[in-house]
């Protein structure tokens, strides 16, 4: 059996994690001083990812009840990381905060994603009728 709400939550979180990882790739690039000069195309891609995260994060977190927990940290990351060049020019303390906030959000999303996938696996082994019967008999379905 598939639960449509659960599937939607997993899909949204997967998309959020993807964007969050892409943002990290850019931050890592920016912080690596040995990398060559940042191109306009890279800046455009970075802004694209940032725009997606800005418009989608709140909605995604509200679907999985994580708004209060993660909204602040997410905004901190997105406001600090204004551009790749901007990240390269951050002070050591600001960089540390940026990475800590990014990691806080990433870890929490990853944990919730795992929990939801576990619930999906449990549900897949059951049919709709078996779930209904289990509810009727007041016991967990096999």
């Amino acid at each position: 059996m598939r639960d449509s709400t659960l599937e939607t939550q997993i899909r949204l979180l997967t998309l959020e994690v993807e964007n969050w990882k892409k943002l990290h790739d850019f931050i890592t690039y920016a912080l690596d001083k040995s990398k060559p000069i940042i191109s306009a195309d890279q800046e455009r891609q970075f802004t694209e990812i940032r725009a997606l995260l800005l418009q989608e994060s709140e909605h995604v977190f509200s679907q999985v009840d994580l708004v209060t927990e993660l909204s602040g940290k997410t905004m901190n990351v997105l406001q600090r990381a204004t551009s790749i060049r901007g990240v390269r020019e951050l002070s050591a303390e600001e960089t540390r905060r940026l990475e800590a906030d990014w990691n806080g959000v990433f870890t929490r999303i990853g944990v919730v994603q795992g929990q939801l996938k576990g619930r999906r696996r449990d549900l897949l082994g059951r049919s709709f009728l078996s779930m209904s019967l289990a509810r009727l008999f007041g016991r967990k379905a096999a």
């Binding site: 598939r2 599937e7 939607t8 899909r11 890279q42 997606l52 989608e56 019967l133 008999f137 096999a142």
Partner: protein, 278 residues
Amino acid sequence: MAAVVAFFTRENPAGIEARFLLFLSRDVSTVETRLLILNPDPVFEDRALALFDAMPKVETRIVRTLSEAVYILMRENFDLFVVEGESRVAVGQATNIRQHFPSLEVVCLVEQTQDATLREEALQQNIELVATNCSDRQLRSRLRRIVSAFERQSGTPAEGIDPCHSLVGNLNQFSAAEILQMSCMSQRSGRFTFKSSRGNSEIYLHHGMVRHAIYSSLEGEGAVAEIFRWRQGRFYFEEGIISQVQTVNRPWTHLLLDNLQKLDETVQLTSAQGSNER
């Protein structure tokens, strides 16, 4: 039916429940149909995505840009490619994918399919157009019909390699282009069979010329182009098997140059994605 009878005749209700539930439980280990979905706004425009999510034995992968889609299609195998979005843009993207992946089944989910030029274009490129301006129920049944067509096709083909074949190998060591080049240079006649998770395909040579190629519903140069992209799988050559059918009329060198150029163009499409990962 047998389980329902047991339900009424057994005395122990707990045992009955367990047996009945066992009867109802489904095997979830069967092969899934893999869909790659190109949707520029999968978070807010997710009507079709929600319908795909609810389908059993369907695995979906969502991408937002064409370059991401090409990047993934070069590395993984999918049963179906679905493009969602504004009609003109979606058909344009689907056409682009069709040019680079001729054997891939492509479906376009668009708001309306009334535009005759759009329909014509889709027909020419063998792209299925599905209108989304209908009820959820109608859309669900249309999508289910499309996806169910692939359920029976999934599965890994049998190896079936005979030790007496004159040339046997792995595509991750030698590409199809390399082994065909070698065979054509030495004026061979026979049949090459390629086996991978994408299916089986055959290329027939006659005195060092490609005479016939077949892969799934594709024949001729389209099938050769498809095999050029394979990086996984096995191949073997059987000397002396000649095809009566001739679907390829151009010399091998022309095919080789054209297909290598096409492959370069496909790789270029993914360059934006690649620079993202660097």
